[in-house]
């Protein structure tokens, strides 16, 4: 009895401690996490003082000493004596601020989230691997290794990251490791390849082929081509119309045999991210300084820690400043003494699906070009936290991986089952070489040469130099296709449906120093229909591009401030055309809130300003109107997902086809609705939903309160580490493209100088540090939300007279 009495408290203490040492479901390990000596308390950082502090750190792998100075935003300016040390330092310093994010994102990219969160991460992990994320990263890593400089850079970066990881003990792990209860693993160069590959997932994995085939099956080719035209009615293409072609086109491949695929049925909802970007460059004759200026704002899913990490990298032969992506070396968007560059995404069609005919259940052979061919298999192993590991076999045809077999349920509704995926992201590539060379480019020739190495995700690379040049290349590897090839699902047995080659890089759409004095891109159509190659049928809506071109055309004596104004432009160019059309047909119920709303729209200055009520009414109305016109015809059956016609096509129908049969709601059997009825009905419905959501028409109807822009932590549901309800105007078709979850992830404006002292301003919605316990975690958000920019400190040596430096770190060799 006594024995039990003595053991019982001990057993209780052990159980208690065990419980607090481990995580349970989403509950973190409370003992470890809350201990003031080990847990999150340790992650709180003292904000630095205004005086310059000095620190010495020893890291292995350096050849010489590296000097790093941090400015008041926590941006490191790195001065190394050779390339190798520069990239060791970049890896080390990035990891110092962003280790968890780097690792989490590459785990996500590589389909390894279930190692951290357990079984609930499996569907996403399997999707990543079946789409060939790891396969693609391995291929692109092969490509990178062909360039010795890239190999050295990647290895040095990786050594730097590992030097930081090795300096950590459990108590100073970044906060998220403590919350999710795991430890960082060694970094490897292939993780950088995975990170770059993931950019293709983020920017170039959109696919409508399945939905288009479903439309083809229901309505036939004529309707499909009429409602989903291959070029917009209103457009202002990226390459100015009339730009002379400096190449002789190669022959276009023969069209595949006509094919109507099986389409398919599935239920999983799909997210449709509103991501795009703006960039432009203006010639010296339009600027006050007389030299070109360049602006860029890539729109991505807004998140914390920030997507971008600012750095200045200096070594013999390079002095570059800009935004880097944690996980990969070099500056991605930035400037140096002589040139500036930026990117926006190209919406061309570089992803196709081939319906596969397997010989039998073993899937060892498939039918192609009149014979049975062998599939290859790739084994993917998943180590699931708290579960036994799982082994998955992915079948490959010569096209690529069969992402889902016919009986499987896909992760996203736009992914067909029983189809092989042909995707540019599976090609061997050398993106790293492009950025390495861009960082060091001194003129147009260097820039153009750097771009020849780039494959995916295709980008509109805007460029300006202090020699007075501006240029834009729509750049990447584009499959050489017959007209509209791959708009619909393709026949995997037809060799004519295969990709047979690529558009020669020098034939990629490009323009240099156009007469109009500016170049720009906003994800719209790359070229006008006179371009000899087919690149895709659907790009981002033209509104942002048209507005930017309209403004740049009108602007002269351009300054930093006027370009900042354009980046923050809230003008609703769609409303300029659409609102008068709608108002002319609207029969609103008289008086009450409907009357007030009509007045509000009549008063509206067409600006999607943060406090605008007109913007809320218009945007919500357009949303419901589009649904009222098309949902009955195109979203009637959730098992047969379809696209809806674009707003461009819808406006065309409003203008030219008021009697079209599409106006009728086919769900109302005994009634034939007219255009006026649909317009008026959707107006009433829209006002009713707004009243229900925000009460009587008043300040609660402000656009920002309706839109709810938020910057969320990468761990879903982690509101405490997020910034929500940010007062921002803008919208998806607005130059200031801030939506609920997406927006300008980095804004930069550069004014070049003959003397090699460029002036630049920039900001991103977050902060340099990934640590929620640091003052630099989110200190730039307010500046960003106000539409302001910070002056970027471009140094020649690790000293500065303006007193902006806060911290100096000497990195020396650890023996």
């Amino acid at each position: 009895m006594k024995y039990i009495k003595s053991i019982f408290p001990l057993a209780l203490a052990i159980i208690w401690t065990y419980a607090l040492h481990n995580s349970w479901g989403t509950l973190p390990p409370l003992g470890k996490l809350m201990s003031p000596f080990h847990g999150f308390w340790v992650n709180a950082e003292v904000p630095e003082s205004a005086e310059l502090s000095e620190e010495n750190l020893q890291i292995p792998g350096l050849e010489k000493t590296v000097t790093v100075v941090y400015d008041e935003m926590g941006i490191p300016h790195v001065f190394a004596e050779n390339d190798h040390d520069l990239y060791v330092a970049q890896g080390y310093l990035t990891a110092k601020d962003r280790l968890w994010q780097m690792e989490f994102q590459t785990h996500f990219a590589g389909g390894r989230i279930s190692e951290i969160v357990g079984e609930k991460g499996m569907v996403s992990d399997q999707f990543q691997r079946r789409m060939g994320a790891v396969y693609g990263a391995e291929k692109s890593f092969e490509g990178m290794k062909e360039d010795p400089k890239a190999t050295e850079t990647l290895q040095a970066y990786s050594d730097g990251v590992n030097a930081y990881i090795e300096s950590l003990t459990e108590r100073n792990y970044p906060l998220e490791y403590k919350l999710l209860n795991y430890a960082p693993e060694k970094w490897t160069p292939i993780k950088s390849a995975l990170f770059l590959k993931n950019m293709s997932f983020v920017l170039a994995s959109g696919t409508d082929d399945l939905k288009m085939t479903n439309i083809l099956r229901k309505y036939g080719k004529k309707v499909a081509e009429d409602l989903f035209p291959n070029y917009p009615f209103v457009e202002s293409p990226i390459i100015p119309v009339g730009t002379p072609k400096d190449f002789k086109p190669v022959p276009i491949p023969e069209s595949p045999i006509d094919f109507i695929g099986l389409g398919s049925a599935m239920k999983t909802p799909e997210k449709d991210p509103n991501i795009g970007s703006n960039n432009w460059a203006v010639s010296g004759n339009k600027t006050v300084s007389g030299l070109p200026m360049l602006a860029n704002d890539p729109h991505l899913t807004l998140s914390l820690p920030s997507i971008w990490y600012q750095m200045q990298l200096v070594a013999p032969g390079v002095n570059v400043y800009g935004s880097t992506m944690p996980g990969t070396p070099n500056v991605i968007v930035g400037f140096n003494k002589n040139v500036a560059w930026g990117v926006t995404n190209v919406g061309s069609d570089i992803l196709d699906w081939y319906q596969v005919k397997f010989k039998d259940a073993s899937k060892a052979e498939y039918w192609h070009d009149g014979k049975w061919k062998k599939t290859t298999m790739r084994i993917e192993k998943f180590n699931i936290k708290g579960k036994e590991s799982f082994v998955d076999t992915v079948f490959f045809t010569h096209h690529g991986p069969v992402v889902y077999l016919s009986h499987e349920k896909p992760f996203k509704s736009n992914i067909p089952v029983g189809h092989a995926l042909r995707w540019i992201a599976h090609e061997k590539s050398q993106e790293l070489t492009t950025f390495y060379k861009l960082n060091r480019a001194a003129n147009y020739a260097d820039y153009a040469q750097a771009l020849t190495y780039y494959s995916a995700p295709a980008q509109n690379f805007i460029f300006a130099s202090n020699q007075g040049d501006i240029a834009l290349w729509v750049n990447g590897k584009f499959p050489l296709k017959s007209y509209t090839q791959g708009k619909y699902l393709l026949d995997g047995t037809d060799p004519k449906a295969d990709w047979t080659g690529f558009i020669p890089q020098s034939h990629n759409p490009h323009a240099k120093n156009p007469v109009r004095g500016f170049l720009s891109s906003a994800n719209q159509s790359s070229v006008d229909p006179s371009y000899p190659y087919y690149m895709g049928w659907q790009y981002a809506p033209s509104e942002r591009g048209r507005r930017i071109n309209e403004r740049l055309e009108a602007m002269s004596k351009i300054t930093m401030d006027s370009l900042r104004g354009l980046q923050n432009d809230n003008f609703n160019i769609r409303a300029r055309t659409l609102l008068p059309l709608l108002m002319a047909k609207l029969k609103s119920p008289a008086g009450g809130v409907y009357g007030q709303a009509v007045n509000e729209l009549q008063r509206w200055n067409l600006q999607n300003a943060a406090d605008s009520k007109g913007a809320t009414i218009f945007e919500n109305w357009v949303l419901l109107l589009h649904e009222a016109i098309w949902a009955d015809d195109f979203s009637a059956d959730e098992n047969v997902p379809m696209n809806s016609p674009s707003m461009d096509r819808t406006i065309k129908m409003m203008q030219d086809e008021p009697q079209s049969a599409w106006w009728d709601n086919v769900k109302t059997k005994n009634k034939k609705e007219s255009m006026e009825e649909i317009i008026s009905g959707s107006f009433k419905a829209s006002i009713d939903t707004l009243v229900k959501k925000h009460g009587p028409l008043g300040s609660e109807w402000a656009w920002y309160k309706h839109k709810q822009t938020g910057i969320r932590h990468l761990i879903p549901g982690m509101d405490a580490l997020s910034r929500l309800n940010i007062p921002m105007g803008g919208g998806g078709t607005i130059v200031n493209a801030t939506t609920t979850k997406t927006g300008p992830s980095w804004r930069m404006i550069v004014e070049l100088s003959k003397e090699g002292r460029p002036k630049a301003h920039g900001v991103y919605p977050g902060g340099q540090s990934g640590n929620p316990g640091s003052a630099h975690y989110d200190d730039l958000i307010d500046t960003w939300a106000k539409g302001e920019l910070r002056s970027l400190l471009y140094l020649e040596k690790p000293e500065d007279a303006t007193g902006r430096l806060r911290k100096k770190i000497i990195l020396s060799i650890k023996k």
Binding site: K2, Y3, K5, S6, F8, P9, L10, L12, A13, W16, T17, L20, H21, L30, G31, K32, M34, S35, P36, F37, H38, G39, F40, W41, V42, N43, A44, E45, V46, P47, E170, L175, M718, D719, A720, L721, P772, G773, S774, A775, Y777
Partner: protein, 121 residues
């Protein structure tokens, strides 16, 4: 073992526990706090009736005061964020208390276990 302890002796025990707990916290894993408290209760022959309370008070003081002190030395928005996460409505004082209670219960249970190992053989 029904010996009563003087108040000052009890204060001395708490002080020893807090100091030893703090030193171990700086160098060893978080749970060594418990193991050391059990050892102290065993060696110092703390009565089973008082061990839990003394361990609780020591653990609570050590963790709550350390959290308060660290927060004072490293002012950041992190504790407030964590107090939203838990959820304590953003109350940092609430977070000191939760921290203290976790340290206290760990210390108390182990001190009690140590005393029982000594006196219930």
């Amino acid at each position: 073992m029904k010996k009563s302890l003087s108040f000052s002796y009890q204060v001395a025990i708490v002080l020893v526990m807090v100091v030893i707990g703090a030193i171990s916290g700086l160098y060893l894993p978080w749970y060594t706090l418990g193991i050391l408290f059990a050892l102290l209760a065993y060696i110092l022959r703390i009565p089973t009736g008082r061990a839990f309370a003394l361990g609780l008070v020591s653990g609570f003081l050590l963790w709550a005061v350390s959290a308060f002190w660290i927060d004072g030395q490293h002012p950041s928005s992190l504790p407030e964020r964590m107090a939203h996460l838990f959820p304590l409505g953003g109350s940092v004082v609430g977070l000191y208390i939760v921290t203290g209670v976790l340290g206290g219960l760990t210390g108390g249970l182990w001190a009690w276990a140590g005393a029982n190992l000594r006196f219930n053989k």
